[in-house]
Structure formats: C-alpha cells, structure tokens
Amino acid sequence: MHTTQQLQEIMAAALSVPVSSITDELEYQGIPEWDSVSHIYLITELEAAYNISIDTEDVLEMSSVPKVKAVLKKHNIAIN
C-alpha cells in the first residue's frame, strides 16, 4: 500500500520544501526549489523508494504531482 503522504514526503525531501507545499497544482519550475538539480534527485529517490527504474522519456514527463502519479502507475504503483 502506497500512500499520498509517503509520496509527498519523498517529494518534499527531494525538492527541499515543506510537505504542505506538495500540492496537485505544483509544477516543475513553478517554484525555485523544483529545478533541474532537485528534479534529478527526485527521480533517483522515487526509483529507490519504489524499487523501480524510470524510463528516460518519463524523466521529462514527471513535471507535476498528478504526472508523477501517472508514471508510478505505469510501474503498477497506485498511490492512494
């Protein structure tokens, strides 16, 4: 069972922002903290946390919380 809270915590740590700022409206480059550097950290940490390997195309695709969830879903990881 994977929870939204868990995903929010992973994202907050990777982007170095408070958990409360991880909302569905948040977008890549929408805040200074979500830049190319933190995005690569985010990808690495999602791979470690869910034990998956994220495809190269999906690295660019994961530019918002819903889009991150959509890519995780491709790996059979449903976030509830």
């Binding site: 170095s16 200074p32 190319s36 933190s38 690569i40 950290y41 495809d55 190269t56 690295v59 660019l60």
Partner: protein, 455 residues
C-alpha cells in the same frame, strides 16, 4: 573594432524569443534605452530573455562599465553589492523599487533604476565588464575584463568552433556566466539566429524548441551532460545539431566517452573545452578528432593563447589577449586594470608527448558544484558568522559535494545544510556534514585539508 560594432556588422544575426517567436535585429533595438553618452557602472541582473538581451546590447553600445549578475541572487546580497559599488544604473525586473534610486521606464519593456545622486568615482577606461567568479556566495569580488578581452576571446573561439551565419543557437546557459556569455558574443558576431530561452533541458518544451527552430549546437557544463545522459539523449537523433560544446569543469570519463562516441557515430563534433572567467572564458579546447584518443585531456591552447607549467608547483600558467585585468572587491578597484599578465590558473597540469594538456589537481580552495565555483574559505566564513563564531573546515569532494567538518555536536547536520542551501542557493544534498574529534593542522598552523579528507 569594438564588440558592439562587430555584432551590429553581422548581417545574418537575429534574436528570437523561443516561447513567443518574437524577433529583433540588433539595429531594431539600437539606442532603445536612451542611455546617455557617459561613463559609470551598471549592475545588470539578467536572465536569458529577449528583453535582457536588449538591455545587454544597449549597454554594450554605451560607454558604461557593465557587471552581469544572476537575477536569482539573494536580495540581501544584491543590496550589499549595490552599497559597495554604488552603480549609476541597476537593471533588476524582480524588484519594484531600489532605495536611493529612481525608477526610469526606459521603454515599454525595460525599467531601469537610476542613481539619484550619482557618486562619481574613477573607472579605468579598460574596465568594461565585471563577472563574478562565485555565482552564489554573493561575494563582491569580480573579475575585470576589457572590451579587447571580450573581442579577442570571441575571435579565438571562432577560429576553432564551426560557428556560421546559418546557425540557430539557443542561449541555454546563463548570460552572467562566462561560458554562457561567450556563446552569446561568438554567435552574435558570427552566428545567425540566437534563440533566447529560459527553458531548461528537463522541460519537454526545450526539446520541442530544438526541433521547431532547428538548433545547430548545444552548450553544457558537466551537470547538463549528466542530465542529457539521464534523459536518453544518446539514444535519439537530432538532425539539425552540428556540434556540442562542454566546459565549466571536468566531464567524467564515462560521459566523455559516451558523447564522444555518439558524436562520431552521428557525424557531429563534440568540443571539450577548458577556461576560467579570469581569461574571459576560454583557454583550451580538445579538437573533436582527438576526443577518443585523448580522453581526459583539456586539449591545446586556443589560437593566440599559450600554456606554461610552473616547474616548482606544476601550476598551469596561461598567457593570451583574453586574460583580464585582475579583480575588483570594491568601487576603488575599478580605477585599475592590470592587463597583460600571466594568469596563474590554480590548476595543476601536465603535458603529454603530443603537446596535449591534462589537469592533475587544484591548488586553489574552491569546489565546482553544478558548474559554479564555490569558494571554500568564503563558506567557512559564512558558517562561522551564522553559528556563533565556531570554526568549520570545508572541502570539496570530487566537484560533487561540499564537505563541512565541525568539532562540536551543534549545529546539527540538517541546520548546516539548510543554512548553506539558503545562503548559496544550492540544493541541500550538495552538502555533506561530518563531526570530527579535532581538525588537523600543518606545521605552520594552517588547516591540513588533505589529511582531514582521509579521516
């Protein structure tokens, strides 16, 4: 000829905004800010938008001395710099007002801040451009460059890079960064379409722009190449691309090989280059034909440049018309320009039997994180100030991390990372913190970083 005249004389040159498709030629915006024919200092916090390029071109066409700075600098740092240098003009779209300055709407796109009681001070006629060497610590230390430095370095680069009037070149590196500025100057002088973009390479729109405009080259620091690699660059075809350049630190051997092989297999040229802001931008390049047989080399000096190696220390010394006039740390330093000197690079090097140079170590105290130099002594001072005078020891770990050593239990590692992240504008993961029993000192009482690294 001056830099601006050379830019104005390029018949193929057009600047385009990637997102709106809007374009102008240099002549369309000539004199568009109505700058007076005077001397003085202008601090320009510029991004890579079309408007920022308009501002830069206007100041290059003036007699003002220009300092290029990151718009993302902490506002506190901006105010410190402005207090130290008291510039005549400030360009910073992010601030609604600057105390002591009048907002002047120069045209419908550009608002400048003008000093209301201009403090007159002497600026040496050769002090034309100021670039910061540490992008993020907000240090008031600048490298002083002359108009001649800019022109000569651009001409040397144009002698080995295949820049042509049919090129479409994105400005995908910051203009306040010497490497990004050199992409701007060389392509403005001899290129074709220059595409202004604030998109980064992890945005799908950047790659759509590459296709739409038909980018002919890309430039990147090692970190950009790591991202290219992660997003599968080498598995795809980019028919419009003719060449790639890399500078701003050493690319790891795996990536150098991967991109070298990609370039060779796809008929593209990959240029690995070496330079420093103190030399305007470029000092050496590795000819693409030698890439795979001279892996790890910075190549040979650029045309008109020369390397020597100090026999006592192995320090790499550079001589050439692009070596600037020293540093400025306050307004009074602008009155001097110590040109024509040998540049001590602070890097140690060796030369192989074919004349190619290799960097073997570093004498200066800095670490390169994401392509930006971070001065380790400055970081130690920042920490000391923030944490009640306690002493810290900082060192770089393979240009990947900045390691902070401390002797006390406090502050904890998270607090140190958070502070440095805020002060330097870098991700907290760039920092490592380690508690040690004691620091190690050399016989003459200086910190022995080399021995401490082994702890």
């Amino acid at each position: 000829m001056q830099l601006y005249e050379r830019i104005a004389a390029n018949p193929r040159l057009v600047y385009t905004d990637a997102s709106t498709g809007q374009s102008f030629r240099a002549a369309d915006r000539r004199g568009s800010l109505g700058l007076e024919d005077a001397r003085g200092l202008a601090l320009l916090y510029i991004d890579n938008t079309l408007t920022a390029v308009e501002v830069l071109l206007n100041f290059l066409d003036s007699r003002f001395t220009i300092a290029l700075l990151s718009p993302a600098l902490h506002v506190e740092y901006k105010q410190q710099l402005e207090a130290i240098y008291r510039p005549s003009y400030i360009y910073d779209p992010s601030r609604p007002a600057v105390a002591g300055y009048a907002a002047v709407q120069a045209n419908e796109r550009v608002r400048l801040f003008k000093d209301t009681n201009a403090a007159a001070y002497t600026i040496h006629p050769d002090t034309r451009l100021l670039l910061s060497t540490s992008g993020t610590t907000g240090s008031p230390k600048f490298v002083k460059l002359s108009e001649e430095n800019l022109v000569q370095n651009a001409l040397s680069i144009l002698a080995y890079l295949p820049v042509s009037g049919t090129d479409v070149t994105p400005l995908n590196l910051p203009l306040y960064y010497s490497y990004g500025l050199s992409v701007f100057t060389t392509n403005s002088m001899a290129g074709g379409q220059v595409v202004c973009t604030s998109r980064d390479v992890l945005q799908p729109a950047f790659w759509e722009d590459l296709q739409r405009y038909g980018f002919t080259s890309l430039a990147g620091v090692p970190y950009v190449y790591e991202m290219f690699y992660r997003i599968g660059f080498c598995k795809k075809e980019y028919p419009s691309l003719r060449y790639l350049t890399q500078a701003g630190g050493k690319l790891n051997a795996v990536l150098a090989k991967a991109f070298g092989e990609y370039a060779a297999a796809h008929g593209k040229d990959f240029f690995i280059m070496y330079g420093q802001t103190e030399a305007t931008a470029r000092m050496a390049y590795l000819p693409p034909a030698d890439l795979l047989r001279k892996t790890g080399s910075i190549g040979i000096p650029i045309p008109n440049g020369r390397f020597d190696i100090d026999p006592a220390t192995q320090e790499l010394l550079y001589t050439g018309p692009n070596v600037g006039g020293g540093y400025a740390a306050c307004a009074a330093d602008l009155a001097f320009f110590d040109g024509g000197q040998v540049l001590r690079t602070g890097d140690m090097a060796r030369q192989d039997e074919d004349g190619y140079y290799y960097i073997t170590g570093r004498l200066k105290r800095f670490v390169k994180l994401f392509g930006t130099r971070v001065n380790l002594d400055e970081v130690e001072q920042i920490l000391k100030q923030a944490f009640g005078g306690q002493t810290f020891a900082c060192t770089g770990v393979e240009d990947k991390h900045l390691l902070v050593l401390l002797r006390e239990d406090t502050p904890d590692s998270a607090a140190v990372k958070q502070l440095l992240s805020e002060k330097l504008g870098l991700h907290p993961r760039a920092f490592m913190v380690k508690q040690v029993d004691d620091f190690i000192f050399t016989p003459n009482g200086k910190m022995d970083y080399q021995d401490m690294m082994k702890m």
